[in-house]
């Protein structure tokens, strides 16, 4: 938690250091589809048959975005979502384990800071934007039907996005964005055996929502 709050402080400081101008705060709310595109290193562990693997599912959630604008074209935004629950099923040689239910289930806390460049002038109806930044992902409340003690390591990785805003009124606009993240997590589940795997998530998120400028 310490690391997340430090990041929030950093983001807040980044915002407060600027001279206030009209409408340089943007609040967005949207729906996000989280396609995990996960690859694993296969499951390793004592007593685990060779070829054991997991298949990580996708998730949908709600995101909240606060963007601070610096001048007409630049902005820094913090994206926080309601942590979606990501589920994984057994795959490969251990597919039969799915009879016990979801083999792994975890909440994905994934705050992301992005620095955006907005094309065109403020006030334009359509404003595309691109951004790059950093993502921190932490997994909480991890459960596994195979092992009571399951943990996923947290991850830092780059994030990029492209998006477009459509101004409905002076204050309100609709937005759509596509972001790509790089998240790598070591999974350790232990009981009688200790299962380990590294999940290489290359999630793509598709977001759609409304933005309010003030």
């Amino acid at each position: 938690m310490k690391t997340i709050s430090s990041l929030l402080v950093a983001a807040a400081l980044a915002g407060s250091a600027f001279a206030v101008q009209a409408q340089d705060n943007v609040f967005k709310i949207g729906a996000t589809r989280y396609d995990t595109h996960a690859k694993t290193s296969g499951i390793e562990g004592v007593g685990v048959p060779p070829g054991a693997d997991v298949k990580v599912g996708d998730a949908t959630t709600v995101i909240f975005v606060y963007e601070r604008l610096f001048g007409p074209n630049l902005g820094a935004e913090l994206v926080i979502g309601i942590p979606p629950t990501i589920k994984a099923k057994a795959a490969g040689s251990v597919e039969f384990l799915n009879a016990t239910g979801t083999v792994l289930e975890t909440e994905n806390w994934s705050p992301t800071v992005l620095f955006n460049y907005h094309f065109f002038e403020p006030g334009a109806t359509w404003r595309p934007y691109v951004g790059a930044g950093i993502n921190y992902t932490k997994f909480k409340n991890t459960k596994s039907s195979l092992a009571p003690n399951a943990e996923l390591g947290s991850s830092w990785g780059p994030a990029v996005q492209v998006g477009i805003e459509y101004a409905i009124t002076k204050d309100i606009s609709a937005f759509a964005s596509l972001a790509a993240l790089k998240v790598k997590s070591k999974v350790v589940a232990s009981d009688g055996t200790v299962l380990t795997t590294t999940v290489d998530f290359r999630p793509t998120t598709y977001s759609l929502g409304v933005a309010y400028k003030f």
Binding site: A10, L13, V46, T100, L152
Partner: protein
């Protein structure tokens, strides 16, 4: 813009700093190691050994009474190729187990802590015969003994199978504490493997019968087999953590200084592990030792002990028998039919406890042409005299590497 430029490096460096804090990956149990064990040579006055049949220096000798009434002389008593050329099992040049070899290499004598059969046991029989030997009765290992469960293998047939937890308690009762001059050797868990493997095998037989009868699907059978294996592995985890706790609270905390703890070897690398009924479940047998070793290591992480990894050591021997002077590591040197004859039909499983290699003796039960020095196994799991020599040589090399001897 200016503020942004001055601020962004700060943001970045904070981020990098946070990332560098790391430690975000979960710990993998069993990936640590012990630390803080002595590095200077010990001045040893006793070898104190806890364990099972591999470390048993004659606890059940009375079960092999020639007269059949528990009285000496005995024709067996150790789980190896016993040799009674000079009468008593422990006084002969052959038929020694690794504990005795190791003690002898340090110029020390070690004798059984408790000897007996069928409910009658004697503590430290060596002291009764020669009072000066009272301090030598520190070989606590007993065939069939488990880590904490008193109901070891063979218990119902009259073998004491004093578990390691009680072996250690008995030592503390007798001597009060451990000494820095004790070389303490803890080698237990094999009978927990056999017990759990037996449980798994019984479950597997039922699952296979259900599958054959068509009452469960193949997927269901796989799942049940997986679950049965997990249950067995969990029991091995429990035993390993119990052993680690005993080492910490009953040995290290009670003055134990030079403490070597053995992992379990791969029991699949024995005639038992290669027998037709075990072969389909060999990987489970291996996994049980590995599970025990993993949690033993986890339980001993950061503790001032040394681990001797028999899993790796015995693998080397088994894969390269010739390098260790072994010509046969597949056939037991003890003849089960001869043992059955000598014991009047009482012992049918070829247990080396009743195996005798004395040339010309009427109770010699060695396979014709077998050599107790170049054949590795006495019975389906226990080493011959030569097999034990390989173990004691390997352990001595480890103790040397630790700087202890």
């Amino acid at each position: 813009m200016r503020a942004f430029r001055t601020l962004s490096p700060w943001v970045l460096s904070t981020t990098l700093l946070l990332a560098a804090c790391g430690g975000s990956d979960p710990d993998v149990p069993g990936s640590g190691s012990p630390s803080g064990a002595p590095t200077a040579p010990g001045s040893f006055s006793a070898v104190v050994s806890f364990g099972d049949s591999l470390s048993d220096v004659g606890s059940y000798a009375p079960a092999t009474s020639l007269a059949g009434d528990g009285s000496a002389p005995f024709f067996g008593g150790k789980f190896t190729t016993n040799d009674t050329t000079t009468g008593a099992p422990t006084a002969t040049p052959l038929g020694k187990v690794w504990v005795e070899n190791l003690a002898a290499s340090l110029g020390l004598i070690v004798t059984p802590a408790e000897v007996g059969f069928a409910g009658t046991t004697v503590q430290c029989p060596a002291a009764a015969a020669v009072p000066a030997l009272a301090s030598t009765c520190t070989a606590y290992g007993q065939g069939g003994a488990r880590v904490t469960d008193p109901n070891g293998i063979g218990h119902s047939a009259g073998f004491a199978t004093v578990p390691v937890v009680t072996q250690i308690a008995n030592h503390l009762t007798r001597f009060g504490s451990f000494k820095s001059s004790d070389l303490i050797l803890v080698y237990a868990g094999n009978n927990d493997v056999f017990t759990q493997f037996g449980g798994f095998a019984a479950a597997a037989a039922q699952i296979q019968a259900d599958l054959a009868a068509g009452s469960i699907s193949a997927d269901r059978a796989n799942l049940e087999l997986f679950t049965a294996q997990q249950t067995a592995q969990e029991a091995m985890k429990t035993a390993a953590l119990e052993l680690a706790t005993l080492v910490k609270t009953q040995i290290l905390a009670k003055g134990g200084t030079y403490v070597a703890v053995m992992t379990l070897s791969d029991i699949a690398d024995t005639p038992f592990g290669n027998s037709p009924e075990v072969v389909p479940a060999r990987s489970v047998l291996t996994a049980l030792s590995q599970t025990f070793n993993l949690w033993l290591r986890d339980g001993l992480t950061g503790q001032p002990v040394q681990i001797i990894d028999t899993f790796a050591l015995y693998k080397t021997t088994y894969a390269n028998p010739g390098q260790f002077g072994i010509v046969n590591n597949t056939v037991p040197a003890c003849d089960a039919a001869k043992i059955q004859a000598v014991t009047g039909g009482a012992v049918t499983d070829g247990s080396s406890l009743f195996c005798n290699a004395t040339p010309g003796a009427p109770y010699n039960t060695i396979v014709t042409d077998a050599d107790v020095n170049t054949w590795q196994f006495a019975d389906s799991v226990h080493p011959t005299t030569g097999g034990h020599k390989i173990i004691s040589d390997a352990f001595a090399a480890q103790l040397h590497a630790f700087g202890w001897i």
